[in-house]
Structures are given as structure tokens and as C-alpha cells.
Amino acid sequence: MKRLILAFLLVFAPLAPVHAVQPDEVLADPALEARAREISRNLRCPVCQGESIDDSNAAISRDLRLVVRERIMAGDSDAEVLDFVVSRYGEFVLFNPRPEGANLILWLAGPGLLLMGGAVAFGYLRKRGQGEAPTETALNAEEERRLQELTGK
């Protein structure tokens, strides 16, 4: 019997997917709802392949969306809502890694490389600008022949 129920669930579960943000979740106040949407776009569905809870159809994402709205209604600031969710699900759910600890490497890598690359490029350009005498490499025999063929001499 147990197996039968399991089979039944497996067959019919996909027929009733919970779909992204549902009308019944939407908060009455558009300003609060906009905040909720912004927050849930930054939260990752813990069981999906890289979807935000805002886009995800998973049941847990619906729960998280409701939690976010509950906290907003309770008067939490955006940061407090995120802290609340992170304290329960870990930083895995944050799509925007906090710039702290090792994550500083991530955040500073781009600007750092730009500065380094910029310095190297600047040095290179200044050297090119100082006008080194170009050195010519001689043509090899084959190329001499081709050159004569082209110039007709």
C-alpha cells in the first residue's frame, strides 16, 4: 500500500506544480510587495539549479517567499529579512555574496585586475610612444622570390 501511495505521488506530483509567485502571495501594499520581489530575486532556491525563489516552482521556494513577506509585514528592514533567511539556510541562498572574508577576493578581483592590467598597458604604451627604432627582419629566399614575382622585377 505504501508503495502504491508513493507511485501515486510520483505520477501525480508534477501535475500540480506550484508556479513561481502566486496571486495569493502578493502583498496588498505595492511598495512592500516591490521590496519582497527585490529581496526574493536575490535569494536562491535551495533545491533548484540556480533559480531564484522568485522564479522557482519548488514548494520550498513558495515557503521562503511567504517567510520573506511575513518578515516584511512584521516590520523588518531588507537587511534583517536577508539575515533571517541566511541564519536558517546559510549563505548558500544569497545570490549576492557578501563582501566579507574570502569573498573580498571575488569582489576585488575585477577592479584589481583592471588596475594591474591598466598599469601594464600604460607602461607598454609609454614605451611604444618613446619611439624605439624598429628592427627589420630579413626576408627568406622563398619570400624574396615571391616578392620579385609580385613586383615583376
Binding site: P17, Q22, F95, L113, R128, G129
Partner: protein, 656 residues
């Protein structure tokens, strides 16, 4: 029998690739013409064999040969013919065969169109291309063989993932692969030149069309993929900064950098070592993309364990090719001295800035993509990197690039002045600023993205037009107009591609800033307002498709009582895979798309309905198309045809 024939052809192709990657290389080293001459027929034969193998696999899919494991796993007799064919590359093994087919095609193209290359360089290019072929053919035959048979064939197959049952699958991967794999040519040219120990203007001219072609295909491929995601996934997004998307975006950025730096090599014989490095890295990122997509290591850290063999093999390919090429580079880079002398403010410098911005932005995408992996490996932190990070970390580079583009594009070679270069652009600057400010004033309180996008778009598009106009010189309008028509195609291509980029940037900003969304429950027969429109859910029907069941809504969009469009959004269920999909219905328009999605029936009657107005959506795809059109125009420029040896007439190309 045909399947065995295909399998055998693939093994033969590996043998030919082995010959192709060794004999010509040895011949070029010993200056042995006979050995070098092996290169061309080998490349062509390898292509023919892989093509035969691909045809055999396609045949198995078309006739639904369920004795083949791959067909069982990815097909079904009821599946429409289009998806039976495109299903060939809708899976790991088949798409790898397409990858190898395109690789062999590029090798054969080098044999067909390489007449004008010095014989040693040509043999070496084809040999390196053969080595990549060997790597991927062994990968396929040993870990991902598409021709595995089943002892007891089942009655029917398991069907293709319903999300992939879309015309998008027919076009998106082939274009993407033409781009990805096309970069192998730039790689082969770079490695061949390193072996040769010689990089000159001619090399820049030879490598550029291949890079340009790869970049054009990659642009179209990415745009098609983005459009597909837009209409298929059902919430109107077009780019998700997903690792797999990033995997295609990184080579695109580097290919764009490469085709700009190759101009400096071609015209000024500078930036040689950097260009070679870019050519190596661009293909390196193609391989990294292949690794990301096929090992599953990054989308989900745990799926690596599902197939360690494949991931490890691709990592080995990556290590061997990148390691080998970079070692060669380290030995030979010093020998590549630059010739051209140029001032700090010059076209050369502008192109260096372009390369710096593109390369660093590629690096930002790269580190964002692999950071979850690194953080878990080294810091034991499980974390995610998604859209907010990329928006914050990548956008500044895109903005900076667009801001300097028109100025850099008009800068004279060797020596220029910023203020003088800016003078012809003043009208564009004024217009961009004032329209941007106007938009800013009109939409108080909303994101700055909209006005910034408008200003950048106008600046880049007008800048491209002014650049083209300035190329006609001075004098009467009539004379300049006639000169405009006679400008080289490369000039037209440059202006077109730049304008396309401007349009794309504008559309991205507009869609992100001005999208309207509405989520609500609607009863059958009910209406609701959506922006300036009135949408009615007329009725909802249950419909049966060839291999799915559909809940199809009939919805009418009206404006001021007049019918604008009748749309039929669907929710489908594919019973074989027990998977539901949403099929959004879109009314495409010049200024906006109206995008409707039907959701679940509600407990107390009615349906969940989501509606979007997507402003300027079509401008995004149009911008990408215009960009690639620019690349194509440039590709048909006379001097490439001359360089390719198609036109032997004496050509007096004026020095620039």
C-alpha cells in the same frame, strides 16, 4: 548496419586525425613537401568521415532505432520529425559529435581556403587542428560513445526533455558550436605561428577572418539562446547569468577582444604577443565552457560525482592544450618584437583600452562563475553567485566600453588628440545627454538604468554613424555621399557592428528598467488592465498535442476597445517524461512585447495569470543581429578575399 558504419567511420576519423596531427608537423619541421602535403587530404577525409558518422546517427534518430541506447534515452516515436532530427544534438553524446563535426569542418576549410598561406604555416595549422580532433574523438569514443547498442531494445523511447522540444534547439546549438569551435582556428593559427616563430602583419590578416566568423556565429548563437529562454521559460527574462550562459559569454568577450587586437597586428605590427595570448585564451575559454556544461561541476557541485570520468577527461584536454600552448608561448613570446611606434593617444591605445576592458570583464564573469567552486574547495563555504553580483561587477565594464567606443573608433592611428577627436562627436554627445536627462526627468523615482541605457545607446549608434560619415573626407555633400557608397565593406561592417552594440545595450537597459508585470487570478470571461491594454481571458480549453496534453487559454488584448491581438498561452504536460512546461504567448511589437502566461487553476475558480509588457524586447535581438551583420559585412571585405587568394588581380590597397 548503418549505425555500425557510422561507428566505424568515427574510429577511422580518429586514425586519420592522428595522421593529420603528426605527419604534416614533422614535414613542416623537415621542410618535406610530401609530408606537408598530407595535411589537406587528411583534413578533408577526416571531415567526410565525421560527417558520415553524424549522418548515421541522424538516421538512427529519424527511424527511431531503439536498439541504440542514445535514441532510447532521447527520443520517442510520437515526437515530431523536427525534434527527432534536432534531438540528435539535444544530449551529451550527440552534441559532442556535432562539436567534432564542426571542428573537422573548420580543419577542412583551412585546407580548402588556405591556398595563400605559406605551406609550412598551413600544414602546422591543420596539424594543430588535427590534434584537437584527436583529443575530442578519443573523448567521445572512450567516454561518450553515441553508438552504443542495447541487447534488448525497448518498444519505445523515453522522449526528449520537453523544454528542448522547441525549434530553438534546431538552430541555437549549431550556431553556438560554430562559434565555440571556430575559435579553435584562432588557436591553431596562434600555436602554428609560435612553432613557426614568426608573427607578422600577414598573420594578423589571416587569423582575423576566422576569428570574425567565429565571433559572428557566437553572437547569433547567444542571441538565439537568449531569445529561446525569453519565450520558453515563461517569465520574460532573457539572461540569467547562469554558469552555462556565462560559458558561452566568456569566449564571446575574448573573441571580440581578439578581433580588435588582430587589427593592430595587421595594420601596425604591434600587440603581437598579446594577440597570440588572446587567441590561445579565447579557445581556452571555449574548452572551459565545454567543461562547465558537460561535467555539471558548477551548476550543482554534487553532480561532478555523477560523471567524474568525463569531467576529468575534459580537464585533461584543457590542461594539455592550454599548458602546451602557454609553455610554447613563454618560450617564443620574447621573440615577437613590436614594430609600430605610436603615441599614448592613438587608435592603437584605444584598442588596448578596448582589450583591457573586454579581457577584465571576461575575467569578472569567469571568477563569478567558478567562485562557488573555489569557495567550497579552499574556504569550505557553500555559497552562490548570481545575477546581483554580475550586474554590479560586470555592468561598469560594459558602460565604460560603450562610453569610450565612439571616441576610440575615430581616433587616428599613431597619434591623436582627445579634444580634436571629440569635436565631430559633439552633436552625438549633446543629443545623448539631453535625451538621457529628459528620460530621467520623465520617470522620477525609478532606476537610473533607463536613462543611462538611452544615453549610451544614442551615443554609440550616432557615434558609429559619424565615424562612417567622417571616412568620406571633406567637400560637398554629393561627393561625400558617393564616396560613402564606395567605402570599403570593412568600414561599413565596423559602423554596423558598433551600432548594433549600441542598440543591444539600450534594449538591455530598457527591458530591465521598464518592464511591467502583473500577477493575478482571472476568472474565465474576466478582464483586467495591463498598462494601456485591457486583457480578457475568454476561455480555457483542454487540447491534445502530438505528444503532450495542453491547457490552452484564449486571451484577447484590447487597447481603447480595439482588438490588438488574440493570444493562446498554454500549459503543457508531456506524459512520457511527466513534465509540465509553460508556453507563453507573445504579441511581438516594435515598441513592446505583450507576454502572457497561463498558470494553475485556483481552488475557488479562475486561473493564475501572469502578464508582462516587455519594452523594446525585439530591439535586443535586432541589435545582436545587426552586430553580426556588421561582422559579416567586414568578412566580405575585398582585402580578405584578396588575402584568401580568390582574387589574384593586382590590388592597389592604399596604405592606411
Amino acid at each position: 548496419m548503418i549505425v555500425e558504419f557510422g561507428h566505424f567511420a568515427l574510429i577511422l576519423a580518429l586514425a586519420v586525425a592522428l595522421v593529420q596531427s603528426t605527419l604534416p608537423l614533422w614535414g613542416a619541421h623537415r621542410r618535406n613537401a610530401a609530408l606537408m602535403a598530407v595535411a589537406e587530404p587528411a583534413a578533408v577525409i577526416q571531415f567526410v568521415l565525421v560527417a558520415a558518422s553524424f549522418a548515421a546517427l541522424t538516421y538512427a534518430f529519424v527511424v527511431s532505432d531503439f536498439s541504440l541506447l542514445l535514441v532510447v534515452q532521447n527520443s520517442h516515436t510520437l515526437k515530431p520529425m523536427l525534434y527527432k532530427i534536432s534531438g540528435v544534438w539535444g544530449n551529451h553524446e550527440g552534441s559532442l559529435l556535432l562539436w567534432v563535426l564542426i571542428l573537422a569542418l573548420f580543419g577542412a576549410c583551412a585546407a580548402w581556403f588556405g591556398d595563400n598561406l605559406p605551406p609550412t604555416l598551413r600544414s602546422r595549422v591543420i596539424a594543430v587542428q588535427g590534434m584537437i580532433g584527436v583529443a575530442f574523438l578519443t573523448f567521445m569514443l572512450f567516454t561518450s560513445n553515441p553508438f552504443l547498442r542495447l541487447e534488448v531494445p525497448p518498444l519505445d523511447g523515453m522522449d526528449l526533455n520537453p523544454l528542448l522540444q522547441d525549434p530553438g534547439l534546431a538552430f541555437h546549438p549549431p550556431f553556438l558550436y560554430l562559434g565555440y569551435v571556430g575559435l579553435s582556428m584562432a588557436f591553431s593559427f596562434a600555436v602554428a605561428a609560435l612553432i613557426e616563430g614568426r608573427v607578422d602583419a600577414a598573420w594578423g590578416r589571416w587569423v582575423r577572418p576566422w576569428t570574425l566568423a567565429a565571433w559572428v556565429f557566437l553572437t547569433i548563437g547567444i542571441a538565439l539562446g537568449s531569445w529561446w529562454a525569453y519565450y520558453e521559460l515563461g517569465w520574460g527574462g532573457f539572461w540569467f547569468w547562469d554558469p552555462v550562459e556565462n560559458a558561452s559569454f566568456m569566449p564571446w568577450l575574448l573573441a571580440a577582444a581578439l578581433l580588435h587586437s588582430a587589427i593592430v597586428v595587421e595594420k601596425r605590427e604591434s600587440l603581437k604577443a598579446w594577440t597570440i595570448l588572446l587567441a590561445i585564451m579565447a579557445f581556452g575559454f571555449s574548452l572551459i565552457g565545454t567543461f562547465i556544461v558537460r561535467s555539471g561541476v558548477i551548476t550543482s557541485v554534487h553532480s561532478f560525482a555523477n560523471d567524474p570520468e568525463r569531467g576529468v577527461y575534459i580537464l585533461m584536454i584543457l590542461a594539455v592544450f592550454m599548458g602546451g600552448a602557454l609553455t610554447l608561448f613563454a618560450f617564443r613570446a620574447g621573440a615577437m618584437e613590436a614594430k609600430g611606434v605610436f603615441a599614448m593617444v592613438s587608435r592603437e591605445s584605444a584598442l588596448v583600452v578596448n582589450n583591457l576592458l573586454l579581457a577584465v570583464s571576461c575575467f569578472v564573469v569567469f571568477i563569478g562563475t567558478i567562485w562557488p567552486l573555489l569557495a567550497e574547495l579552499f574556504f569550505d563555504r557553500k555559497l552562490s553567485v548570481g545575477e546581483p553580483f554580475f550586474n554590479a561587477a560586470f555592468s561598469p565594464f560594459a558602460v565604460a566600453l560603450a562610453a569610450v567606443l565612439p571616441l576610440g573608433a575615430m581616433m587616428p592611428w599613431k597619434r591623436g588628440e582627445i579634444l580634436r577627436g571629440l569635436r565631430p562627436l559633439v552633436p552625438a554627445l549633446i543629443l545623448a545627454f539631453s535625451v538621457g536627462a529628459l528620460v530621467w526627468a520623465m520617470q522620477t523615482g525609478r532606476t537610473a538604468l533607463g536613462p543611462v541605457g538611452v544615453a549610451l545607446g544614442i551615443w554609440v549608434v550616432l557615434g558609429a554613424g559619424i565615424d562612417l560619415w567622417a571616412r568620406t573626407g571633406r567637400g560637398a555633400i554629393a561627393g561625400r555621399l558617393s564616396r560613402l557608397q564606395r567605402l570599403p565593406r570593412a568600414d561599413w561592417g565596423k559602423a554596423t557592428a558598433h551600432a548594433g552594440l549600441g542598440i543591444t545595450i539600450f534594449a538591455v537597459c530598457a527591458m530591465l528598467a521598464w518592464k511591467t508585470e502583473d500577477i493575478r487570478i482571472v476568472q474565465e470571461g474576466g478582464s483586467y488592465p495591463l498598462g494601456p491594454y485591457e486583457v480578457t481571458l475568454v476561455q480555457v480549453d483542454e487540447v491534445e498535442g502530438p505528444n503532450y496534453f495542453s491547457t490552452m487559454a484564449l486571451m484577447e488584448v484590447r487597447r481603447d476597445g480595439e482588438l490588438v491581438s488574440t493570444l493562446r498561452p498554454e500549459k503543457r504536460l508531456y506524459p512520457v517524461q511527466a513534465m509540465p512546461t509553460t508556453e507563453a504567448a507573445i504579441d511581438y511589437g516594435f515598441w513592446r512585447d505583450v507576454y502572457l502566461v497561463i498558470g494553475d487553476p485556483q481552488a475557488n475558480g479562475g486561473y493564475a495569470v501572469r502578464s508582462y509588457i516587455e519594452p523594446f524586447a525585439n530591439w535586443l535581438w535586432a541589435g545582436c543581429l545587426i552586430m553580426s551583420l556588421g561582422g559579416l559585412l567586414s568578412l566580405t571585405d575585398r582585402r580578405y578575399r584578396v588575402a584568401a587568394g580568390a582574387d589574384r588581380r593586382s590590388a592597389a590597397v592604399p596604405a592606411e
